[in-house]
């Protein structure tokens, strides 16, 4: 069963499109990373999934229902970000108990353990927490709710690196014990790539690609060497990134198109082939020009 299904999803803000004809589907019990630059439309997409926002046109189904104003979707999904608001009258401990009264699969024991592990003061108010502590508390709510669709929007913002690591480990461990669909947005791919099964990369509201992380690692290849030789190999290739090194050398990233022989030939002619990290690949794929920041200064 598909957990999320979008068809030509578009969201218009004023005159610009935050999302533009986005089509994809997410299968159940996968951890999917939603990756994109700032302003690519990640948060808008996730808020539409959670039923917070309307979409302008196209179609979105979550659990085969339109999420906006849908109680079933609300009960089976949770949207976690660092702007979650809680009533100032309730203490952190009371908030956890309230959350438990709402969510049918809530695990109070897990919530309490994480709460103690991160040494929260049970009597403090949510509004008095620091940014990082807020994110940590919200993450506890998100994990303990055990919703069939758990959405984390930039969950680690403000967390220190120790808590980040703990967070990702906690997500993985709880996911192994209780598989469910998790969508995690981030602009730091490196941090999350091991945790993910699939990556959904978006750029300016449009889908860039959607594939298993492991396939993405073999999606492209980096070639470096003398510019003249590189240019020869490049004819008819899909260039993702290009950078000149020194006066007569070039580094290019091209999409692998299965012709292994050609690559071997390139290697024999003195070019160096390297793998491209997912982090860099995502950056290259979502940058506006193939030349990067260097183009500004040239």
């Amino acid at each position: 069963m598909k957990v999320v299904e979008c068809k030509d999803l578009t969201k218009v803000y004023g005159r610009s499109n935050a999302l533009n004809n986005l089509s994809f589907s997410i299968e159940e019990n996968k951890i999917t990373g939603l990756i994109g630059r700032n302003g690519a439309g990640k948060t808008t997409l996730l808020k539409i999934m959670a039923g917070f926002l309307h979409h302008s046109s196209g179609e979105i189904k979550v659990f085969e229902e339109t999420p906006f104003n849908n109680l079933k979707v609300s009960a089976n999904s949770i949207f976690i970000d660092n702007e979650m608001s809680f009533p100032p009258a309730l203490s952190l401990k009371e908030l956890l108990i309230t959350a438990g009264s709402f969510y049918p699969y809530w695990d109070q024991k897990l919530a309490d353990r994480l709460f103690d592990y991160f040494s929260f003061n049970p009597n403090i108010r949510h509004g008095n927490l620091s940014k990082g502590m807020k994110s940590t508390f919200n993450m506890i709510v998100g994990l303990a709710a055990r919703c069939p669709l758990t959405i984390f929007d930039e969950p680690t913002s403000g967390m220190d690196s120790g808590v980040r690591k703990d967070f990702y480990r906690a997500v993985l461990k709880d996911y192994l014990a209780h598989p469910r669909s998790i969508i995690l947005s981030s602009h730091l791919v490196e941090e999350v790539e091991d945790l993910l099964e699939d990556i959904l990369l978006i750029k300016e509201g449009e889908k860039c690609l959607h594939m298993p992380v492991e396939d993405l690692k073999e999606y492209a290849v980096g070639i470096s060497g003398k510019t003249a030789i590189v240019d020869e190999v490049l004819s008819g290739k899909d260039i993702i990134f290009e950078q000149s090194i020194g006066t007569d050398s070039t580094y290019v990233v091209i999409k692998k198109d299965g012709s292994q022989k050609e690559l071997e030939k390139a290697e024999e002619s003195g070019l160096e082939l390297t793998a491209v990290s997912i982090d860099n690949l995502c950056l290259y794929l979502t940058s506006k020009t193939t030349g990067g920041i260097d183009h500004v200064f040239s």
Partner: protein
């Protein structure tokens, strides 16, 4: 994957509990406002006097109407506050949709109105007791009310307050649609009052007050108030249908 089936009424009950707990400030403000109203009432709402060469008298009227007016305004403002973003978004941190949010808000405001109605009555009695101790008791006279009259009085009070919460809820929802209403509504209101005063005979405001206040049949009064409140809540629900959360 097992999807939880949820019952809307179940969620409403949970939200209602959640709101009773988290909107405690609403009740604190009520108490503060009623204490202030008591202080105002202490001066009396009316005075007349007279005398001759041998004696003089003064007559002071005291009533709880000041407390009721203050409480109605409290109801109006409370309802406006509840429709504000901060309160609305709190719901969306847990399970909800617009239907359950409105229903639990309505239940909460009804409960708050009942509580406020009862405290209005208590405050009125409190003023009477204060006078007995502060003034020579022989000179204090009470309107004697039967139990039925008392019950009618209290339910009437509650309904008035509830009606005002419904107006507040409508106003609050309008403001959520567009911030412009923060300016438009007061202008409309005071404009109407002033325009009304300019004419030869005042028409609108007294008519409205008469329509609700001078109804001699209690049953009809209930019907009028409830219908008007339902209209207000209905409008509020309709206009907030498309409101987005944390856009």
């Amino acid at each position: 994957m097992y999807l939880a089936e949820v019952n809307a009424w179940d969620i409403v009950k949970k939200q209602y509990q959640y709101k009773l707990q988290s909107y405690m400030g609403v009740f604190t403000s009520l108490i503060v406002i009623q204490i202030i109203a008591i202080l105002f009432s202490f001066n009396g709402t009316g005075m007349s006097g007279g005398g001759s060469s041998t004696f003089s008298y003064s007559l002071n009227y005291y009533s709880g109407s000041m407390i009721l007016i203050f409480t109605m305004i409290w109801g109006l403002i409370t309802a406006i506050i509840i429709t504000s973003k901060a309160y609305r978004y709190d719901d969306y941190s847990f399970i909800t949709n617009r239907g359950t949010t409105h229903t639990s808000n309505l239940l909460f405001l009804l409960s708050a109105s009942i509580f406020a109605g009862i405290t209005v009555l208590l405050c009125t009695h409190f003023i009477q007791v204060l006078y007995i101790y502060s003034v020579n008791s022989e000179s204090v006279m009470f309107e004697q009310l039967t139990i039925i009259q008392n019950l009618k009085g209290i339910s009437g009070t509650i309904l008035y307050i509830f009606f005002f919460t419904s107006i507040g809820y409508f106003i609050g929802s309008l403001i959520q649609i567009s911030r412009l209403f923060i300016f438009v509504l007061p202008v409309l209101f005071f404009g109407a009052v002033i325009a009304d005063g300019l004419g030869k005979e005042q028409s609108m405001i007294p008519h409205v007050i008469k329509f609700f206040g001078n109804e001699s049949s209690f049953g009809l009064f209930i019907l009028k108030i409830l219908a008007a409140s339902a209209l207000m809540y209905g409008f509020a629900i309709i206009i907030s249908k498309k409101l987005e959360v944390r856009p």
